[in-house]
Every structure is written in C-alpha cells, then in structure tokens.
Subunit: 252 residues, 2 copies
DNA sequence: CGGGGAGTTGAATGCAGTCAACAAATGTGG
DNA sequence: CCACATTTGTTGACTGCATTCAACTCCCCG
C-alpha cells in the first residue's frame, strides 16, 4: 500500500464521483466535499483496504480498480457481499455500530480517495446536503442488496451467474467512455471462485455454468477480461429486464 | 383501512419509536419529529399499505402489528424482502428514485404512524440529525440484508429457517416487556408459505423442516403463535452466534 | 355446517454439491 | 529466460438435498 498526500489527481477532471455516487449533489456542495479529500491510497491485488472489526475514521471512494467486500464465515469459507467498482463509497459508517462487520480486499491495482469522516460533521454548511446524498446512496445499496438476494433465493445457478455478470458488466462499462470499447469487453479481474463465493455456489458448478453461457454465445471470457455479446439475451437468462437492471445498477 | 387524525395515541407514552429506529436521536430532536406525525392508519390482514410503483409522500412507522414487504416476480411468485415489525420505518425514500420498488401488505391487524415526508425537508432544524439517523437506519437495514442473504446463499434449508425464525423471535420479543412472557412465545401471524417465499424454498420443504425443529424440541408453533424453547440451540442450528444476532436485530 | 386456506404425507425427479484427478495459466526465483 | 510452484480452470462419477405433483387432513371462519 502506498499513500499519496501531494499532487493528488485532479477532482475536477476526474469525474468518477460525479458519474456515480455523489452525482446528485449540487456543484457548489460537491466542490466543498472534494476539498475535504485528505489523501489517496494505492493498493496491489490481495492487499486489504480494511479488516472486519476495525473502526473507520475515513470514508473511501474508489478511484480505480476492483475491490471485494466480504465476511469470513465460521466454516472457513467466505461470503462476498459486494463487488466495489470505481465511484463506489466504502467504510463510511455513520450510525451507532461504528465497527465494520466485513473486510475489503483489492483484486486489481486499486486507487482510492480518502475523506476524514470527522471533517464531514464539522463542515456544517455541507452537512444537510451531504447527509441526504448519503441517505440516498444507502437506499440504493439496500435496493441493490434486495435485488441480489432475490436472484440468489429464487433463481437457478445459471440465472444467478447471468444476473451477476450482467450487473458487473453494466457497472464497469459505465466508465468506458467510448461505446465501441464496450463491445470489446471490460476489465474483469474476478475468478470463478469469487463468483461462487458471491452466489453461494461451488466454483466447479460456476465453471459448468460459464461453459453453458459460452456455448450459447452469450459471453466470452479470457483472463481478467469479460465480453458480453448480447446483453438482452443474457438479461433473459438472468430473468431480469435490462432497462430496470440498468436503472438499479447505474446512477446516472 | 381506517384513518385517525384526532386523539392519536400519545407518542411520549408509546416508546415504540424510542426502542427501535429513531432511538439515537436526541430527545429534543425526537420530540420535534414526533410532532410532525399527521395521522395514524389502521389496516386489517390482507390490506395493502402501498403498492410497487407508487410515489410515497409520507414515511410510516409501525406502531403495532406485522407487515410483509415483497416484490411480485414475473413467474407469478413473490419474493419477501423483509418482515416489518413494531418500530420499523417504511416507505421513506429520500433519494432520487422516488417510486417504490416493492409492495407492503398487512398480515395482522396493523396500526402505523404517518409523517409527511415534505415536512421533514421543511423543518430545517432537525434535517441534518434526521437524515443522519435515517442513514444509520439504512446502514442497519443493509447489514441485516447482507446477513440474510449470507444465510440464504450458504446454508441448508434447516439453517435458513432456524435463522429466520430466531431473528423474528428476537425482534418481536423485544416488545414484550415482561421477560417471562417471552418463554410463553410470541405472536406470530406468518404462514409456512410466507417463510418459504422469504427464503426461496417451497412451503412443502419448510413444513418438513418445521417438523424436524419441533422433534428436536427447539420450537413450538400453534396457529399464529411461536415459542422458541432454546434460543442457543436454535442459534447453533442456524450457524449463528446468539449475541451477534441480537446486536444485529435489536437496536437498543 | 360447509368452504377454503393452511398444513401434512409420499414418491419420483433433477439440480447442485462432493471428491478426485488433471490441464492450463500465471507468477516467482534462480 | 527457463524451471518450478501455485493458482485457476476443467472434466467425470456419485451423492443428496430440495422440488414437483398429487392427494389428503386439519382447522378456522363465516
């Protein structure tokens, strides 16, 4: 892990935050929030951003890369709660229970922006707007969480995998500015075992489902690379409606 | 459905809100919030509190009774997202997407307190505190949601059912003031099919799991009544730790 | 007393897990 | 730059949990 406190990449030009989580803040408020950023951190694959049980004193937004949020279970396995992508907000913990109940690990090279939580509370002028924004982010997280668990509870393995792959594809491709690039596929540093740990399947079964999806001509996947050939067909396999899924997964 | 706008039950004496969701607000703020309550609604079993697609203009807190939040799925079945009990906050929707993505139906006689959302925004003096409180409620909801879907994803049918029954038992028994009453069991207006719809099982299989739990001497259930005979043993079957589960399910 | 929802039982089917072995890809140190 | 170790992906055979379908009972409520 490497910390950068000087020559931070320029918030105005970055646009990652604007495109995603804090997008609904007014520009004036957003500027003030951005000025609260204290530093950036850089992580390599396998490094932890934080561990379960810690008390966070800073909020993190992902500038670049993929992060897995997960819980270790008693039987030695892990449950993946969420794949966090560029723009996502992590470890903010406003409420009572200010110890984290899960851990976060980088699965690619990751850069995050750090904001001291205390500065949020002190900067009174932005507090109402910011807390509203965070409320609505929390709402979106809850809605995504319910959608995920509906898929996990009710669907077949194939539908679950299709749902997750399509969700990740839509979220990641939002950051590819050129539309034609999306047809070439996205950066996808997630193993079949990660997918299994997220959906409660075995990696062996995920593998067989991947093969099925490939044979149907729905996806292509080389190493750390995913291409969705037909979004609509994949949505059908996932028993989801593409427009609704986009609305849920993409903030803009 | 019946609306009451006069002679509302006394907030000061009620304590339901204090025990649960809005408990962390300072007393002065809580008083102001309570004064914003415009009316109470009374529902009978089977009546809808709201339908998916509606745009809510009021937040609801449950004063008494059980409510099921669910989504209708394309295949005609439904996914239950949450069982809402006394003290829970419903349909608040602060953020962008102000149409509701799920429906709510009463499964017992239900009384709810209604707060015009607009009044939350106008009452500037309480706004930051309130939206922070709502954020932390959302955080708790998300944490509960993750715990639920971990159970659904990773556990056997028996563990899932045990986890859900114990969670509901803990939450409901929080409102029974006398401890000895809890040993007699709780009011439990939930059918086996409801449990099945919440966990993604068939009601037939839930029935067989119930029988197993009864034979092990863990639970007793007559009509609309549930008694948990040994919380610790049931927690073990659920692969959960009782203290942690209590922390997650009970705010106080 | 009769109807309908909720709960119960049995038998047959099938999806996903388990175990074991192997192949391919990736990364590391000499 | 090659050799080796480790991780990731792939295949096959067997097992078992949960579903499906159908019939039936019980209980509550009007």
């Amino acid at each position: 892990m490497r910390i950068i406190t000087q020559n931070l990449s320029d918030c105005e030009k970055c646009g990652v935050c604007k495109m995603t989580l804090l997008g609904e803040l007014e520009t004036t408020v957003l500027d003030k929030v951005m000025k609260l950023r204290s530093s950036q951190y850089i992580y390599s694959p396998g490094e932890y951003l934080y561990h379960a049980g810690e008390t966070p004193d800073r909020a993190l937004t992902i500038h670049k890369g993929w992060v897995i949020l997960f819980k270790d279970l008693d039987d030695g396995s892990r449950q993946i709660l969420r794949f966090a992508l560029a723009g996502d907000l992590l470890s903010y913990r406003i409420g009572l229970k200010n110890t984290l109940d899960h851990s976060a690990i980088a699965v690619s090279d990751v850069t995050v922006c750090s904001f001291p939580i205390e500065s949020f509370r002190q900067e009174k002028s932005i507090l109402p707007d910011l807390s509203f924004a965070i409320s609505s982010i929390s709402e979106l997280m809850t809605a995504q969480c319910y959608a995920t668990f509906t898929s996990i509870a009710k669907e077949s393995g194939e539908a679950k995998v299709a749902f997750l792959l399509l969700s990740l594809f839509l979220r990641e491709s939002e950051h590819s500015l050129k539309k034609k690039d999306i047809n070439e596929g996205i950066f996808f540093p997630i193993t079949q075992e990660d997918i299994a740990d997220a959906l409660g399947l075995t990696s062996i079964h995920v593998n067989r489902i991947y093969q099925g999806l490939r044979k149907q001509g729905l996806i292509e996947c080389k190493s750390k690379h995913l291409r969705v050939i037909d979004q609509n067909k994949l949505a059908k396999v996932a028993h989801a409606k593409l427009p609704e899924l986009k609305k849920l997964m993409i903030v803009s």
